[in-house]
C-alpha cells in the first residue's frame, strides 16, 4: 500500500506535533515523576482535540473527521515512537468504534471531540485476554440491567468518564453469543475502582461491580448481540496497539542505531562490529515487516474485507514479537546505561510489555491466526 497525500500530511502533522509536545521528558517522565493519578496529561488531550485528532474516527455527520483505521494507525505510530501517554487508543479508537452507529454515540461523541471525555474499555477479567470467557453478569432489573462481577487491566479506568463494559446477558463462559456491551457512566453507583500503576507507569483499573444499575438505553447495539460491536472495537484496538508497537520499536531501534554510532569500546565504535551490524539490520527488516502487516490490517478493516479479522491477529502477533525483539536488542546494545532509570531506552522496554498484553498478547493472536485462518 502506498499512502495517499492526505494520509502523509496527517502522519507528518502527528509526527511534528508529538515530537514537540508528546515527548518522554514533557509527558511520560513528567507525569510519572509528579505521581499523577491519571498517568497522562489532560492538556495534551485538549491540544489533540484542537487538532481534530480526538475525533479522527468519529463520523463527519457527528462532527468528526470520519477517517479510518489506516489514519488511526499513522497517529498511533507517532504515539508509540514518543511513548506519549494518552487516552487516544482507548477513547478515540476503541470507544468510538464501539459507539459508532449507536444511540450512545450521540451522547458521548461531543465530549470526545472537545477533549473533555476520556473513555475506557473493560473486557478482561483475568490476567489473560479471553474475551469469550467473559463472566461479568448483567441481569435484567426494572427498566434496565444490574451488572455484577469484576474487570481488570481497564486502561485509564480510574480516569475515564465513560466505561465500555462487556457483560454476559446470556449463554455461558466460552461462548460469543449472549454477550452485551454497555456504556456505563463513571458515576454509576456500585462500582469500586482501584487505580493500579503498571510497570510502564501507566494506569489501569481493577473494577468491581456490585449490582451496578444501568438503563436499558446503556446497551450498545443489541442485547445478547454484543459480540459484533465488541469484536469491531477489539479489531480497531488491536490494530491501533500494533501500530503503537511498531512506532515504539522504531523509536527504540533509532535510538539504538544512533548509540552504535557514538559509543566506543575496544578502541572502536561499537557500530563497526559486524555482529551488531547484522543484528541491527535483521531488526530493521522485522520492523518493516511488522509495519507493512499492520497497515495491511488497517487497510482491510477500512475496506470491510473478509480477511480483516485474521489480519488484525497477524498484525498484533507480529508487532508484539518484533517490538519485544526491538527493546531487548535496544537495552542489550546500550549496555549498562540501558539499565538505568536516567536513560530513556528502558522506558521502551516497559511500555512494550504492557502493549503486548493489551487486547491479547502475541501467543493469543498467533493461536487465533490458526483457529480463524
Amino acid at each position: 500500500m502506498i499512502l495517499t497525500d492526505d494520509q502523509r500530511q496527517l502522519a507528518d502533522m502527528a509526527r511534528t506535533f508529538l515530537a514537540e509536545e508528546g515527548t518522554i521528558k514533557k509527558q511520560l517522565r513528567h507525569w510519572r515523576d509528579i505521581g499523577c493519578k491519571d498517568g497522562f496529561g489532560h492538556g495534551l488531550w485538549k491540544q489533540m482535540a484542537e487538532l481534530g485528532l480526538t475525533g479522527l474516527a468519529i463520523p463527519e455527520e457527528a462532527g468528526g473527521l470520519g477517517l479510518g483505521a489506516t489514519e488511526a494507525a499513522l497517529v498511533m505510530e507517532e504515539v508509540g515512537r514518543n511513548l506519549t501517554p494518552s487516552p487516544f487508543l482507548t477513547t478515540s479508537i476503541v470507544a468510538v468504534e464501539a459507539l459508532k452507529g449507536s444511540e450512545q454515540g450521540k451522547r458521548w461523541f461531543p465530549g470526545i471531540l472537545s477533549g473533555d471525555t476520556v473513555a475506557a474499555f473493560a473486557v478482561d477479567e483475568g490476567p489473560h485476554h479471553r474475551p469469550r470467557a467473559i463472566a461479568l453478569e448483567a441481569k435484567r432489573s426494572g427498566n434496565g440491567f444490574a451488572l455484577s462481577g469484576s474487570k481488570q487491566f481497564v486502561v485509564h479506568g480510574a480516569s475515564a468518564d465513560l466505561l465500555i463494559v462487556a457483560a454476559r446477558t446470556g449463554g455461558s463462559a466460552g461462548e460469543s453469543d449472549g454477550l452485551t456491551l454497555f456504556a456505563v457512566p463513571r458515576d454509576a453507583a456500585g462500582m469500586t475502582i482501584e487505580n493500579v500503576a503498571l510497570a510502564d507507569s501507566s494506569k489501569a483499573a481493577r473494577i468491581s461491580f456490585e449490582n451496578v444499575a444501568v438503563d436499558a438505553d446503556a446497551v450498545i447495539g443489541e442485547v445478547d448481540g454484543g459480540w459484533e460491536p465488541l469484536r469491531r472495537a477489539m479489531r480497531a484496538g488491536r490494530t491501533g496497539a500494533a501500530a503503537e508497537l511498531v512506532g515504539l520499536a522504531t523509536g527504540a531501534s533509532d535510538m539504538t542505531v544512533d548509540y552504535l554510532k557514538q559509543r566506543k569500546q575496544f578502541g572502536k565504535l561499537i557500530g563497526e562490529f559486524q555482529v551488531l551490524q547484522h543484528r541491527a539490520a535483521h531488526l530493521f527488516g522485522e520492523i518493516e515487516i511488522a509495519r507493512a502487516v499492520t497497515l495491511k490490517a488497517a487497510e482491510l478493516l477500512d475496506k470491510g474485507d473478509a480477511q480483516a479479522g485474521m489480519m488484525t491477529h497477524v498484525a498484533k502477533a507480529k508487532a508484539g514479537r518484533v517490538s519485544a525483539l526491538a527493546v531487548q536488542e535496544a537495552v542489550q546494545m546500550h549496555g549498562g546505561i540501558g539499565m538505568t532509570d536516567e536513560h530513556d531506552i528502558g522506558l521502551y522496554m516497559k511500555r512494550e510489555k504492557v502493549l503486548d498484553a493489551l487486547f491479547g498478547d502475541s501467543s493469543y493472536h498467533a493461536r487465533m491466526v490458526q483457529v480463524t485462518g
Partner: protein, 385 residues
C-alpha cells in the same frame, strides 16, 4: 467503461481463447517450468504454443517497450494482465534469466544495437541465458573475481573458471563478469555476453545434496568474443552487475519464496496433533502472512519508485530465511513419510529434496550475511559497514 476496464475485458477474452487448458494447471515441480531456448525440450505442444503466443503479444515481458519485443503495457495494465492470468490459474509462459536479470540490465546499460539484437529474442524465449558471476575464489566477495579478459585487437580473449553457473549446461548464451584490468578491484570488471557454443567453453554439472543438479562449473579456455558484446563501458561492469543483482534479489523475493502460510502445509499433511509443532506452525503463519503483506507493499513501493535501493537486500534476507523455516516445518510435519528419498509416497522425495534445496536460498544471490551488511551500510549507515 474506462480504458483499463476495456483492457481487462479484452485481456480476459484473449487469455480465455488462447491459454491452453494444460497451462491452467498448477506446476508440480521445477521440471514443469518452460525455459525456452535453442535446445529446450518442451514437455508438450501446449507448453510450446503458450510460450509462442504470449511472446508474439509481448506478454512474456508485458512492461518492456514494444520496440524490443515487450508488450508496452503501463504498470496498471501489467497488473491487470497478471491478475487475469492468476484468475484462470495460467502458468507463467516462460521462466528466464534473460527476462528477470539480463533484460533490465540491457534496457538500462545496453547500446541501441544490443537492445535490438538481444531483447526480442529474450522476449520470445528463443535464447536461454545463464549467469557467470561466481568463481571458486569469489563467491560472496564477488569483486574478487579473476576470469581474465584480454583485448586482442579485433576480439576479446577470455580465460578462467566460473562456478555455481545455474543451467550452464542447458544455456545458449552467458552474461558474464570478467576482469579487464587488475588496477582496481571493482574498477577492472567488465560485463560480457557470449555464446556458450563458442570454442573453448565447457561445463560440468555439480551434484548437490538434494540429488538435483541445476548448477555447473564452467570453464573458459581461450574463448574469443567479438568486441561489441561488452555491455556498458569497459572496466565499468560492476555498475551493471550491481544493478542486475538488485533485480535478481527482487526476483527471488517475488518468486513466492516466503509467501503463503504453513496452514496450507498443515492441510496437505493432515492434522498436526503435536501441540509443540502446532505452536511452531502458528508462529510461522504469523511470520509468513506478515511477510506476504511486506512483499505486496515492497512491490507497490517499487512501482511507485519509492523503494530504497537497498530494500531488495532486506527482502531477500527475510524471504529466504522464512523459506528455510517453512521447509524445516514441512519436514517436521511430514515425519518419516517426508524422509523417504525415492518412493511414490513421498512423490519421489519431494519434501526432502526441496528442504535441502532451500538451504541454498540464503547463500545464492548474495548470502544472508552479505544482505545484512548491505542494509547495515546503506540504510542504517553504520560505521565501517
Amino acid at each position: 467503461m474506462s480504458d483499463l476496464d476495456t483492457f481487462r475485458a479484452d485481456t480476459r477474452a484473449w487469455l480465455e481463447a488462447n491459454c491452453p487448458a494444460e497451462m491452467r494447471t498448477p506446476m508440480r515441480s521445477e521440471d514443469d517450468a518452460c525455459w525456452g531456448g535453442r535446445h529446450f525440450a518442451f514437455q508438450s505442444e501446449a507448453q510450446e504454443r503458450w510460450m509462442r503466443l504470449m511472446g508474439e503479444k509481448g506478454w512474456t515481458v508485458p512492461d518492456w517497450p514494444a520496440a524490443y519485443g515487450g508488450g508496452g503495457l503501463t504498470p496498471a495494465e501489467t497488473k491487470v494482465l497478471k491478475e487475469e492470468m492468476r484468475s484462470i490459474g495460467a502458468r507463467s509462459p516462460l521462466s528466464s534469466f534473460g527476462i528477470s536479470m539480463l533484460g533490465p540490465a540491457l534496457l538500462k546499460y545496453g547500446t541501441e544495437e544490443q537492445k535490438n539484437r538481444f531483447l526480442p529474442e529474450i522476449a520470445r524465449g528463443e535464447i536461454r541465458w545463464c549467469q557467470g558471476y561466481s568463481e571458486p575464489g569469489a563467491g560472496s566477495d564477488l569483486a574478487g573475481l579473476q576470469t581474465k579478459c584480454e583485448d586482442n585487437g579485433d576480439h576479446w580473449l577470455v580465460n578462467g573458471q566460473k562456478v555455481w553457473t545455474s543451467y550452464a549446461d542447458k544455456a545458449d548464451w552467458i552474461f558474464c563478469l570478467v576482469r579487464t584490468s587488475t588496477e582496481s578491484k571493482h574498477g577492472g570488471i567488465s560485463f560480457l555476453l557470449f555464446d556458450m557454443e563458442s570454442e573453448g567453453v565447457s561445463t560440468k554439472p555439480i551434484l548437490l545434496i538434494s540429488g538435483y543438479s541445476p548448477f555447473c562449473e564452467t570453464f573458459f579456455d581461450n574463448v574469443k568474443v567479438p568486441k561489441d558484446q561488452v555491455v556498458g563501458d569497459v572496466n565499468k561492469g560492476w555498475d551493471v552487475a550491481k544493478y542486475l543483482l538488485g533485480h535478481e534479489r527482487e526476483m527471488i523475493s517475488g518468486m513466492g519464496l516466503g509467501s503463503g502460510s504453513a496452514r496450507t502445509l498443515a492441510q496437505s499433511l493432515g492434522a498436526i496433533d503435536d501441540p509443540v509443532l502446532a505452536a511452531d506452525v502458528a508462529l510461522f503463519d504469523v511470520d509468513a502472512i506478515a511477510f506476504a503483506a511486506m512483499s505486496e507493499h515492497f512491490i507497490d513501493q517499487l512501482k511507485a519508485g519509492e523503494a530504497h535501493p537497498a530494500m531488495p537486500s532486506m527482502m531477500k534476507y527475510a524471504g529466504t530465511e522464512l523459506n528455510k523455516k517453512r521447509h524445516e516445518l514441512t519436514m517436521a510435519a511430514g515425519g518419516s513419510d517426508a524422509l523417504e528419498w525415492d518412493s511414490e509416497r513421498s512423490h519421489g522425495g519431494k519434501a526432502a529434496r526441496e528442504w535441502l534445496r532451500t538451504k541454498a536460498n540464503s547463500i545464492e544471490g548474495g548470502t544472508s550475511e552479505v544482505q545484512l551488511g548491505i542494509v547495515a551500510k546503506h540504510i542504517l549507515r553504520l560505521p565501517g559497514a
